[in-house]
C-alpha cells in the first residue's frame, strides 16, 4: 500500500499539534494532562468509531449526542429505581450499564430500521430521533438534572477515574474498540461489505449482499458504542440533563471526516477517525493551556481544520483523474 501525504495528512497534523503543545506549555506533556485529554476523547472517540461504519456504508447519524443523553438518563433512573431492591453494590451498577447498552442497541435499531425498512433519508430520520431523544431526557429530568444516588456514585466513580497506573479505563476501552474497529473495517467480511455498499449499493445488491441488513447493523453497532460511551460517562459527573452530549454528533462526524473517511461513503478509515478525535481534543486542550488564542475561538479553529481536511481530500482526487 502506498503512503501519500493525503493518507498521512491527519497523522502529520496530530504530531505537529503535540510538538506545538509541548513548546507552548511544559505542563502539556505531563501524565495528568495526557490522561485528561485522552479520557475526555474517549466518549467522542467511541461514538466516532461507530460513526465511521455508518458513514462508510453511505449513512449518517445526527442523533448520537441526544441518544447519549437519553441513555445516560434511563441508566441513572434504572439504577436509582433498583437501589432499594438490589442495594448499593456492583449489581445495581451492572444493571445500569446493561440498560445503557441495550438501550443503545434499541435506539440504533430504530434509526437503522427507519432508514432501511421505511426508506427515509438517514439525515431526516436521525434529525427526527435527535429531537425525540433530547426531548425525552429533558422530560424525564423534568427540565432539570437526573442525579445518581450518592452512594452508587462513589462506588461507580473509579470506572472513569481509575485504571491501570495513569491509564484510565476510558482510555483502555477506547484503545481496544479502536483496534477492533480498524481490524473489522480492514480485514473482516463485514467491513468489506460496508465499504462495498457505500461505494455503490447497486453493485453490492447485484453481488448478493443483503444491503439493508448490513446498513441496519452499522446503526446498531453505533448504538452499542454510544451505550458504551455512556457507561464510561455516567461515573464522571453522576448526572444527566437536557444539555448532556450537546453537539457530540457534530464532533464525531467532524472527527470521521478529518480522518479521511469519505462523507459520501465507500472508504472508511477507523485509525484516521481516532487521529481526528485526538486532533479535535488537542486543539481544545492547547488553547486552554496556552494564552496565545482565546479558548472561545476553539470552534473557529476546529471549523477551519474540518474544511481544510475536505479540501485536501478533493485536491487528491483531481490529481488522480488527470
Amino acid at each position: 500500500m502506498k503512503l501519500d501525504l493525503h493518507t498521512l495528512g491527519p497523522l502529520v497534523a496530530l504530531v505537529a499539534l503535540v510538538i506545538l503543545g509541548a513548546v507552548l506549555n511544559s505542563a502539556f506533556l505531563a501524565p495528568a494532562n495526557i490522561t485528561n485529554v485522552l479520557a475526555r476523547s474517549a466518549f467522542i472517540g467511541l461514538i466516532a468509531v461507530g460513526m465511521t461504519f455508518v458513514i462508510t456504508a453511505g449513512g449518517l447519524d445526527l442523533s448520537v449526542g441526544s441518544m447519549a443523553a437519553f441513555l445516560a438518563g434511563i441508566a441513572i433512573i434504572a439504577m436509582n429505581a433498583a437501589l432499594p431492591g438490589l442495594g448499593s453494590n456492583w449489581g445495581t451498577i451492572l444493571l445500569g450499564m446493561g440498560v445503557a447498552v441495550l438501550g443503545g442497541i434499541a435506539a440504533g435499531y430504530l434509526n437503522g430500521a427507519l432508514v432501511t425498512k421505511a426508506r427515509i433519508e438517514p439525515f431526516i430520520v436521525t434529525l427526527g430521533t435527535m429531537g425525540i431523544f433530547r426531548s425525552l431526557v429533558t422530560w424525564l429530568a423534568d427540565g432539570g438534572t437526573l442525579s445518581l444516588d450518592y452512594g452508587l456514585r462513589t462506588l461507580y466513580r473509579p470506572v472513569y477515574y481509575g485504571g491501570i497506573g495513569w491509564i484510565t479505563w476510558p482510555i483502555i476501552v477506547f484503545a481496544i474498540v479502536a483496534v477492533l474497529g480498524e481490524w473489522t473495517m480492514r480485514h473482516s467480511r463485514f467491513g468489506r461489505h460496508v465499504e462495498a455498499i457505500g461505494s455503490n449499493d447497486r453493485v453490492a445488491r447485484y453481488s448478493a449482499i443483503d444491503v439493508n441488513r448490513m446498513r441496519l447493523l452499522t446503526y446498531v453497532l453505533l448504538g452499542v458504542l454510544v451505550g458504551l460511551a455512556v457507561v464510561l460517562y455516567v461515573p464522571r459527573l453522576g448526572s444527566a440533563s437536557g444539555s448532556t452530549g450537546v453537539l457530540w454528533e457534530l464532533e464525531a462526524i467532524a472527527a470521521v471526516i478529518i480522518g479521511g473517511t469519505a462523507l459520501k461513503g465507500g472508504r472508511g478509515r477507523v485509525w484516521g477517525t481516532v487521529v481526528g478525535v485526538l486532533i479535535l481534543s488537542l486543539i481544545d486542550n492547547i488553547l486552554n493551556l496556552a494564552d496565545l488564542v482565546s479558548p472561545y475561538l476553539n470552534g473557529a479553529i476546529q471549523g477551519v481544520i474540518i474544511v481544510l481536511a475536505v479540501v485536501l481530500q478533493r485536491e487528491k482526487r483531481t490529481v488522480e483523474e488527470r
Partner: protein, 494 residues
Amino acid sequence: MTVLALDNVSKRFGPIKVLHGVDLALEPGEVHALIGENGAGKSTIMKILGGFLDPTSGQVLLDGQPVRFASGPEAEAQGIVVIHQEFNLAPDLTVAANVFLGREPGGWRLDHAAMRDATAALLKRLDTRIDPDARIRDLSVPDRQMVEIAKALSRKARVLIMDEPSAVLTHREVGSLYQQIDRLRAEGVAILYCSHRLEEVAHLADRITVLRDGRVVRQALRGELTEDGMATAMVGRELQDFYPPKGQPGDAPALEVRGLSVPGRVRDVSFTLRRGEVLGIAGLVGSGRTELAEGLVGLRPSQGEIRVEGRPVAIRSLRDAFAAGLAYLTEDRKEAGLLLDKGLRENLTLATLERFGTWRLDTRAEDAALDSATREFDIRAPRRDMPAGKLSGGNQQKLLLAKVMLPDPRIILIDEPTRGIDVGTKRQIYAFIRKLAAEGRSLIVISSEMTEVIGLADRVLVMREGRLAGELDGEDMTEDRIVRLAMGVTGEAA
C-alpha cells in the same frame, strides 16, 4: 437547399469506432427517417447533429457552412431542436414552466399568464387535454412525451430531431403526432425521425437512411423500400468466422421455467434450457429481456415455476439463485457490476466473500483466486490494486465474467456480453462462452446485437412487449426473422 448535413463524419469513443464516413442531408419540408439496429450508430448521429457530441473527423454543415456547436443549447439557438427519448423535463415544475424553461417571458417578474396561455395553445394544437399547471411528476409517460413535443414546437425549430417519439404514445396520440409532423413539414421544417416501427417509417418518411455498424448502407426515397426491404437492409451480413463453432447441447433440461411473470414487465414466459446449451434471448430494448433475467435470479419479485435439473426451486433473492447454481452477469457493468473505485481483488471476490473468511478475510486466498482468474480470463491490468474503473471496457467485462464465475455456477445468464468493448475482446468473450458450454454448463445470452445472438446461440427466444414472441433455431435463426418477431411485423416470410 440543404439545412443541416453531415459530410463524411466519423466518430470514435476511445478505441471503438462507431461511425464510419457518414453522409446525411436534411432538406427543408422533408421527413427523413433514420433506421438501424440497436448500436448501429443512430443515437450518435443525433447527438452530433444536436450539438451534444463533436465528430472525430468530417464536418457538420449548417446552410452549407461548416459549424461546430459547443453544446446542445448552442445548436438550439440555431434552430436545431432535439426531442430526446429520455425526457429532459424538470419533474417538479409545471408543464408551462417546462415548456418555457430557460426562455421565460417577462423581466424580473415572470409572466405566468403569458406562459400558461401559450402552453395551452400549443397543447390544444396537439389535441391533448394536459393542464398547463400540472406538475410533470403527476403526468403519465405518454403525456410527458407530448409535453416534450410541445416544448420542441415552441422553439420555432428549423430542424427537428426526433428519437422514437412514438415509442411510448398511445394510438390516438400517435395520430396527433403525425398531424403535427405533417403541419411542420408543410411549414418547411426539416425533420429527422428515428424509429423502430417500420410501418410508421413507410407512412411518414420522404427519405430513408439505413445504418448498419456505423455505416450508411442504403438511402431511398418514399416508396422505394418496402418494410421488408428495410428489415433486409438493416441486417444481413456474413460473420461466420467471427464466432466459435457451435457445440452439441445435451438433451437433459438444466433449467425449466414455466409461466414466469415479473409484475408490469414480463408476462407468462415459459422455456427450457438444456445442458450445455447457449440460448439466446433477442428483442428490442424495453421488451423485458433484462427484467426476465433479473426475475429469474431473484433481483426482482417474480411469480412462476422454476426447476433446476428437474428439482423445483424457490428463488427469492440472489443468494437463493447462487445456491441453486444460477449466476447473472448484469448489462450495467459500471453501475451494477463492478465497484469502479475499488481494486481488482475486492471486485472479484465481492459476491463470494464468505468463502474467504468472516472476521479475518484470507487475502492470500483472494490473491490466488485473482491469479487464476487473470490467467483463465486473460485480464490485463498493469497493477492489481488499481481501481477497476481505470481498466479498459474489455478488461472490466472479463473481470466481471470472472467474478460471476467464481461461485462455479451451472447456469449462467449473461446480459449484453459485449456492450461497449472492442472487437478483439468480443471474440475472446465469445470463446469463453462457448468453452463454458462445452464444460457442460448452460448459458442464456441476452443481446441487442442480432448477429451476436445468431453467431453465438444454439437457439433463440425473441421477446416483444414482455412476452415470448417466438422461438427460432437452426436455419430459421436469421436476422430477418428475429427482427420481424421483435417488431411484430407480419410479413410473408414470418
